[in-house]
Amino acid sequence: MDSIYNSIIEALIFSSDDPLPTSEIIKAIKEIDGSDIEITPKDVEVSVDYLNERYEDDEKSFIIKRIANGFAFGTKQEYAKYVGFLSSVKSKRRLSQAALETLSIIAYKQPITKPEIENLRGVNSDYMMNTLLEKNLITIKGRAETIGRPLLYVTTDEFLKYFGLHKITDLPKPREVDEIMKDEDFIEEKRKIMMNQIEEVIENEVESGDNDGSTTE
């Protein structure tokens, strides 16, 4: 096997979204470079071992691992704490879908109590509410006059800043969002009305101007 296939095998394993089996690697190479290319499963194994030796020599932070009947790149154990920190920060920072849902309910219905939110979402929202409070996206503003006088939640200035809004009334109205969605029927109706209006004008125009007798029908 030509040594150029080391790099190609590397590229294939790197770019695969799943652990890549030897058979797929061979298939890809034969498909692109021709079925007469001689490459065996053994060749692929040797190539991966060679690549891994190179990564070791070059003190790379990653190697090719054998995972679930295939090959996948992975960072090494030595870097686990750095990598772990990054992923934990990310997972904390990303507003999960549930948090976003809760936040949108508060944003549009504020001031609102926790029981009301939970009623709308149909699930317990303690954790979500705490996350949002911690991130300073919502805050408590007084109590409702209802039984038990539950706390009322509102969004914060931080919330506005995060979403690039000046004031809370700047939030897109549900109606505006609908408007962005294409409403086929509506557009078709509008078209027909406009077409009828202009039809007459066109006819007059064609007759008076470049009158060649062919009018719209």
Binding site: S16, D18, G74, I198
Partner: protein, 239 residues
């Protein structure tokens, strides 16, 4: 008759640009009569084939006819007395549109190039260690730890001796509000920090009772501090 691919045009401006380019017209001196006629043929073709025509094409048709009509009338003049070309707005719109059409071609090239690149998408092989152990964020503080910290705080000699005795009017409610304020959603304060500057023991006692009350209500939480005999208070507000 030229062959026009009906679906080739993104809008009326695009179609007009096509006419101008095809017939090598001077964009600043568009023969409006011809181009209007061409436009109408196209529009009728669309109608005949029953293709979906956006209202925008129809709107452009009326704009063209308006310009055509104005061309026949005596020219309007601007405030400096110069003649206003009725085609001016259309020309400007065409040029501006062309600018972005060009840029969209640039973007298309970038898109093509970028499609040749694959970013890493499989991360299951990465070794990760949860960094939780690094945090001292542990909730295994008992009331015993709390009392110990409190006792140690009480035993520390106050930084200054104050002799004047005043009516002491600190309430648990006030101290609760103070703590809540200092731990306002996520903010943290250590116990030592909290009682710093409190010269009267009674004030520390009242603050401590306020803390207990808030913990009971679940409005604050405690966690270990790296320092011995201290702890961190943080706001929770889970009602």
């Amino acid at each position: 008759m030229y062959n026009i691919n009906l679906n080739n045009f993104e809008g009326p401006l695009d179609l007009l640009l096509f006419f101008i380019k095809r017939d090598e017209l001077d964009i600043y001196d568009i023969p409006i009569s011809n181009i209007t006629a061409e436009f109408m043929v196209y529009l009728e073709l669309l109608e005949k084939l029953d293709l979906e025509i956006a209202g925008d094409f129809i709107l452009m048709a009326s704009t063209l006819m308006q310009i055509k009509a104005k061309m026949l009338l005596p020219k309007e003049k601007d405030e400096r007395g110069e003649e206003i070309d009725p085609r001016m707005d259309l020309v400007n719109a065409l040029l501006e549109y062309k600018r972005y059409k060009e840029m969209s071609e640039e973007l298309s090239i970038q898109e093509s190039q970028e499609r040749r690149i694959k970013y890493r998408g499989n991360f299951i092989g990465d070794e990760k260690r949860d960094p939780d152990e690094l945090d001292t964020l542990l909730k295994n503080i008992s009331v015993y730890d709390l009392i110990k910290a409190f006792k140690s705080a009480m035993e520390k000699p106050p930084p200054e001796q104050v002799h004047n005795i005043e009516r002491f009017n600190v309430t648990i409610e006030e101290q609760m509000a103070d703590v809540l304020n200092k731990t306002d959603f996520g903010k943290e304060v250590s116990f030592v920090e909290l009682i710093k500057g409190m010269v009267e023991k009674l004030r520390i006692v009242v603050t401590f009772i306020a803390l207990l009350e808030l913990i009971k209500m679940g409005k604050i939480g405690l966690k270990e501090s790296p320092e011995f005999n201290n702890f961190i208070i943080y706001g929770t507000q889970n009602g």
